[in-house]
Symmetry: D2
Subunit: 399 residues, 4 copies
């Protein structure tokens, strides 16, 4: 980053888990990557002035606002980074785009398909005016995932034949864990499906270059009632004796077809004791296979079927070489990256796209594509798992 | 085996892959296990006398017959071991039971649901006469799988909440591999579904103690045409220029519910490049998880959620201790077993059940339960994956 | 095995752990492999007639003798298979060779270097008369180990630069485990060194094709006193209140140089809690690496440094393909083998060598080479770990 | 970090690989951790003004100096962070301590034992004046390593019986990689030994709480001549046709005894093709074992021998829970950390120690302890690997 670089002034709305991660992205990106614009952590927005100021001090933002509408009016804000809960995304994002601000919105892009469609339309209209937008599916930016995509593009596994995906966590497996906004359909939209299932849908779209065309789904709420949180111990609620209903799914399993007809299977749960953040994707092609597990995130496994059977085997590629995506800017081989590096890479890619005036990915259209799958999953599950075609529905909705 | 042990005289029908494995079971079982009856490899049955005699010499059977009906008439045969293709199982098994011979039949028990129902009825009737029968799901007899079952029974993972199963192979992933009886619906009944999907259904039944109650399924033939085999190179066909249709599924993916309502997901394929015999089962319970992969068959992974999070983790239990099922009869800790040991254990368990006059497991009723799932999978797949209830259908069929 | 095959009549001396394993080798080999001679389990030798007869019945030997000298006089014995403790090997083996019997002797070949030298000389003399001999280092015959050797020979890792070996067990880690013959120098010769260290020395010799030329060693007895065994619970002693000294090493660590000068490091212990039979060998060459761990014995890991760094990684080769050593006679890909298959392969290789009149490997000369390393390790350890040259000593001994 | 926090003004000398890592530590620490002092990136020191200014801009340092002596005179510098090559450490560190500046020095603390002894003495003298010092063995600060230490302290593996360590890399395995300062004894002091062997010595000291008491060592230069670098491609030299000697070791293997007498084995190499940064430590205690591999750095493996053998196994503890060291300040469970987080933790621990006026660890005395082992390794290797006692030598040196 040369001293003469023009700034890209960012306003971030929300400062919880995702706000901390996005802040790290903006903070660190220019220290390791050559960027055409200098990201500036201009203003943090939070409803409560004191809490927002404390967060800004901690996270390193220069100023604070308490009303997100204010930052849309400011001339010294170029980009709005939306880290609030999903039910607020559509309103803020559309207003920001309307105000000429570039937008980064955390996933899930929206809580409903209707909101997502509105946002995608707004993004398309804004793009015509040079105002850009992007959704925060940061797992795309893990180097091993990028390498997987590259190998598919290069034909190293041939045509995609099958995909199997899992996203396994266990933080709700304790039936006495209390209710929270994440177990409330009104606020979260859905449960495991939208929270983590969305990631493996997006990763499938990204790695294969194909979209899910239809699904047959089974959603299930494994623990129907939980304690109502009476107090909070840090981030976590502490339950009392009162109980209330869980109104979202705990686990989402679905089979699917990609646009090419290739079958796929998805399994997202927050009840897999012992699995903490196991995002697993295996893609079988006509001439090879790829496998990834986020619990060993610096590794991509690759099987090259053109190798004689005698010496063929899944290769454990440690994706830490300078030849690997993003890695040359970091450390020597074998010195692996962690979770938040995806947010740094996200900042890098967004800054570069904005500077070049090019559409960053994943776009709101990409986010909408995921939302359509989530919607079809819910409709299929409600209709005895009957195969539910996304394209037809999407076409009908657009006509 | 004391010298005074009464013999259990076995007739084995068929002598290909499964015949070799079953022979090893009968041969080795009395050398390592104390058995109440002495299994005797009395007679091998094959249609072609010369080939059958060569097989009997190689495998160590005392005599040969060319017509399976003959062995049913012989007084010196106590048990008929059926290793022929699936389309012959029902006829032979029913006749053998009728003739008062105990029966062991390789899986799949039958090619159709109707055959399986006939066999189960015959087995029930025979059992009343003291004539016993069993299906050859030998993967149940891997020590790590037995340990998994024990831990479930002992409540070490609490109530079963979810199951995820995969059976991944790659031996048909080469689109130029020629047609064979396994790609022919008339002979094989189905493809990946019945060949390998049947195993993970049975393992789910066994480990959880619950049966699959309904499914939503997607079957797919990934390579629709293959070369017709012109010649044979050992066991393997060599394709010519002519092509013919594949009439079975190549991959079977389905979601399911167990009797308790617990969701499950299944994925069986012969197209997963790099996976050779990856039978993977993960069971999440209310207080722990279990995971198994046949490609590392002497290991069971166990997560005990009652352990404090600070020191909890999946334990890699090397299932080679004398305390583990079957192991005390073999080798010291760490000296693992292989694939065919399951056939030895099968022989041991069957001999003991026969001696005790007790029903061995898995019974023909267990085999029928698997067949019902296979049937429901095919019906669901044909009906746009709609959730298909097995119990209702089974009840209707029985009424 | 054709019916016309000439027999190879075996007498086995001893019938404990190794006798059971050798019996399985003789029993099973002709059922899966085409052999030029038919191994016949002729006579089992044990000092106590009743116990020997019970073992012969269980293991399937036709006759029993109580004095090993008797079988040397019998015309119907072609080969003597010595499974007794190490302190008896030299006498029996030399007498058997003298009597014109082929000999298979379990490892360790001998308890002392002097014995081993005598045996090697006897073997060389016998070979001139067409009488053959072999040492039972069966881990050489794990398919993954054979593949490792093949890849080295084919130059797939270039020149050998470094070797690191571990043999980790934990069956003596409990300080209350009682004394046994294995903790008694008079009977066992040494502790971890000769029992398991010998295996990794032989594997290094085999895989690299080079012998250890010198060592710098540290032997240690970690638990100096143990309970005296008062009774026996099956194979295992049960200790009482009396204690006695452990007179062998518990752990053996040594650095070494191969004949080429390449450095190597060895680590053998029976005190590594949680490691049951972890025989681990890693060989780094100028153009690649190989790694093996017996706890996952059907796998060889291979790194090919000629692959571009971007897609290079250790390949997990599942050594279960028909192209792999020994495997075509067994099961389809992915259906792994176990511990005792090494004894089957040993029988196969020995029968073939005898039929061909060719020297089987490992020869007594190979066994002597290992014994020389064991001896040098003890001398180095006694001399403050000073580097101790094997070749010079061996040359001096031979002059 | 409250706004009222007093600053801790840092001057960093050197800005290559380690300078980038240290900068990230200072930058990020206050954003995730509550610190009693606010680290301020005050001044970066580099010999060439332009390059230093560019580095300061990139890395975020406020000012630049070209002579390290200048910063010792400045009142606005509280701490000197030394990231230069090892041959300069002693002079700078001693001068800084003399000037009353706290000191952080990258490892290796020094290139010679004499320098290290001088530094340790200076540190001890400075500490009496309240001036603190620390060595940058950051691998101690990987959460899994900290957890290993905690479990040892808590007695979860009992008494330490054995240690095995490896540090395997492959970046010099290509014989055509050119000469650099790291292959030059004058600049680097030693090769694999001091560069990476030092880390596993320090980790052994840290995890076991015991120091190495003596060693028997074998150093080897595997590639004796390499191309002289003619030009540079980024960080890497590009070799020409001229060749020169490698004057350092390529691989260091040694056995050792800890203070308690427990045997240990060490193996450090930059020639292990396929291993990129495999820092592996296994500790066997009287009641359990621990194992760590940096290539899977968020995992600690733990075997608890008090668990019944039937369900015992190495647990794969994903060290990403809030209960784990440092983790509560970062991300939810399963969202792993990377290499540079160790530098953040180092900054945190150092800031806290300085604020509290307490000795941070590892101290210069700890660094000297490592240096004594390095020295003994070199002496043993030069004396035919004879066991070389560190304590005696150290005592003699101190008398």
């Amino acid at each position: 980053m040369s001293q003469a670089a023009r700034p890209l002034r960012v306003a971030m709305i929300g400062y919880a888990f995702m706000g901390r991660a996005h802040s790290q992205g903006w903070r660190v990106a220019p220290r390791f990557f050559d960027l055409p614009l200098e990201p500036r952590m201009q203003v943090l927005v939070g409803r409560h002035a004191d809490a927002a100021q404390a967060a800004a001090d901690r996270l390193g933002w220069q100023e604070v606002e308490t009303d997100w509408r204010r930052v849309l009016e400011r001339d010294d804000v170029d980009l709005v980074d939306i880290c609030t809960p999903g039910d607020t995304h559509a309103e803020i994002a559309c207003a920001a785009l309307e105000a000429g601000k570039h937008v980064l919105v955390e996933k899930p892009m929206a809580n409903t398909l209707a909101e997502a469609e509105t946002m995608a339309a707004a993004a398309e209209e804004a793009a015509a005016r040079g105002v850009l937008s992007m959704v925060g599916f940061t797992y795309r930016r893990v180097p091993a995932v990028q390498l997987a995509r590259q190998l598919v593009v290069e034909g190293r596994i041939g045509e995609v034949r099958q995909v199997r995906c899992q996203y396994l966590q266990d933080w709700l497996a304790d039936a006495e864990a209390p209710l929270s906004w994440r177990t409330d359909k009104a606020k979260a939209g859905s449960g495991a499906l939208g929270d983590i299932g969305a990631h493996i849908i997006d990763l499938t779209h990204f790695i294969t270059g194909e979209r899910v065309a239809g699904v047959s789904a089974m959603l299930e709420t494994l623990v129907a009632e939980r304690p109502v949180a009476e107090s909070f111990d840090g981030l976590h609620g502490v339950g009392g004796s009162e109980r209330g209903p869980v109104t979202v799914d705990d686990t989402a399993m679905f089979t699917a077809r990609l646009a090419s007809g290739a079958p796929a299977v998805f399994d997202a749960t927050r009840f897999a004791w012992g699995r903490k953040n196991a995002i697993r994707i295996e893609v079988n092609g006509t001439t090879g296979s790829l496998a990834f597990d986020f619990e060993d995130m610096n590794v991509l496994e690759y099987y090259d079927a053109s190798e004689p059977a005698r010496t063929a085997g899944f290769r454990r590629i440690l994706v830490t070489e300078p030849e690997h995506p993003y890695v040359a800017s970091w450390w020597p081989a074998g010195h692996g990256l962690g979770y938040e590096h995806g947010f740094v890479h996200q900042a890098v890619d967004l800054v570069r796209a904005v500077a070049a005036g090019e559409q960053p990915t994943p776009s709101f259209a990409d986010g909408l594509a995921v939302q359509r799958v989530l919607d079809a999953v819910e409709r299929s599950s409600a209709a005895r798992s009957v195969y539910t075609d996304i394209a037809a529905h999407a076409a009908a909705a657009q006509s």
